[in-house]
Amino acid sequence: MIDFSLLADGGMGWLDASGPQSHLVLSTRVRLARNLAGRVFGTRTTSPIRLEILSQVEAAARETGSLRQATLFRLEQLDKIDRSLLHERHLVSKELAGLDGDPGVRPGSALMVQGQVGAMLNEEDHLRLQALRSGLALEATYQEVDRLDSELGQRLPFAFHPEFGYLTSCPTNVGTGLRASVLIHLPGLVLTKEISKVLQGLAQVGLTYRGLYGEGSEVVGNFFQLSNQTTLGKSEQELLDYLGKMVQQVIEYEEEARRVLLRDVPAIVEDRVWRAYGLLRYARTISFDETMNLLSGIRLGVGLGLIKNVGMYALNKLLIYTQPTHLAVAEGIAPDDPELGVRRAREVRKVLEDEAGRRG
């Protein structure tokens, strides 16, 4: 079993709801895709090459301030439960963790984490550098990952083309290799049915969205990951500024939607919020998806000031700890045990009771 105590905050400092706009924005992530010059990309790498890349990158990373003390996880040496835990903590992609079926975990797949900065090794690109922070903090998050990139760039031969920039396995990432994403909660826009329009608008201005777990994942609990679609032809700063501006706009739309809801249909909104709270407070068995959707209702209630005895940090932690693998490990049962729903309902009740007790 992985010892998460090796990681500061269990690798989840980004959950503490301390960042700017954390009533709506859960976290900000910035990743940079990098590859080593003279090496085939991830899809064509063989096991020996992948192991060479791992040792070359690890050695270089140990010389940097950003990853000197990093914890290294070798994915192929971990069992499926541990790999799922890392994925549920948003530290590795499903692909790197070998959780999306064939071909399973590939040799040399690794994660290095130190504080809020990390690197996935031997993913689709040789290196996926990332930083994660609480709330809307594009600039600070980028600076952290940029520092790591500069430190590694002094020690590793990155594949770079004078015209195309940093070269990546998929041309959708080439240039800056930068993908910045903001995980934002938009129940107001979903309730007012404005969300489709907003998402379409974002697509038209070159932004995209994904679900809670990034690429290819479903939207659950009204959480959307908004990110830049293009990576080439604009500087890192321009990409970040633009995304930040658009996210700010989405925040304003969401706040406006909430105002309209409270003004026009206050009884309906209050009813939804309190029903969500009531269900979670008293349910005896519950699925993860239903938990997420009801937690969205409570989160909205907290944001609107209707629910005063639940903290955002507690809600954020529930997002992680009610996931199948985290819950199963905590309860000492298998992730596919039918008892899981019962345990989940109990855990949620307990957290809400504790919060109510603490906050009166």
Binding site: D146, G153, H161, G165, G175, I195, G233, K234
Partner: protein
């Protein structure tokens, strides 16, 4: 990810809609998306590789691809790229420069990187040229016993070297 409609083809369109106040994401293949009336052409940005491949469909007969030889470094071909949506190695960007430049313009609206530059990159090579040039000027200044100019060039060299750091000239394994 499989198409949630036909469960046969790969999903390329991810459509979020609201039904009964719940957000639903549909994952559809090109065909099912078209049947549902989803305008796939407006999703250019969403399935960039798919639309690129469509524009290059003319090459599927083999005539176009035959003109562009495989990557000299890794042996990947444009057909491989079409199938995988992934390039074989960094050198593919040089081997397939022409079609890629067109693709990048369509994907990103530009094919020219304007962001952070890698120091050991061809820009590093540029820096090496600058250094070479300065050293040549220094040699000439010393030979002409123009010591004032030589001192100035030496200062410029020093600043230049400090700016470049130690990140240049590594060999690639």
């Amino acid at each position: 990810m499989q198409c949630t409609q036909c469960h046969e083809r790969e999903a390329v369109i991810h459509l979020t809609q609201i039904a009964n106040e719940q957000v639903q994401t549909l994952h559809l293949c090109e065909k099912c998306a078209a049947e549902k009336g989803v305008e796939t052409s407006s999703n250019l940005g969403k399935t960039p590789i798919g639309s690129f491949l469509a524009t290059m469909a003319v090459g599927e007969t083999g005539t176009e691809d035959a003109v562009i030889p495989a990557c000299t470094a890794c042996g990947a071909t444009l057909v491989d790229f079409r199938e995988l949506g992934r390039l074989g190695c960094p050198h593919c960007y040089t081997s397939f420069q022409e079609p890629l430049r067109e693709l990048l313009r369509r994907l990103h609206g530009s094919s020219r990187h304007v962001g952070k530059r890698y120091r050991a990159s061809p820009e590093g090579a540029e820096a090496a040229l600058v250094e070479q040039e300065l050293r040549e000027q220094l040699r000439r200044a010393v030979a002409a016993e123009n010591f004032e100019l030589a001192a100035e060039i030496r200062d410029r060299l020093k600043v230049h070297e400090e700016n470049q750091g130690t990140g240049r000239g590594r060999s690639v394994s």
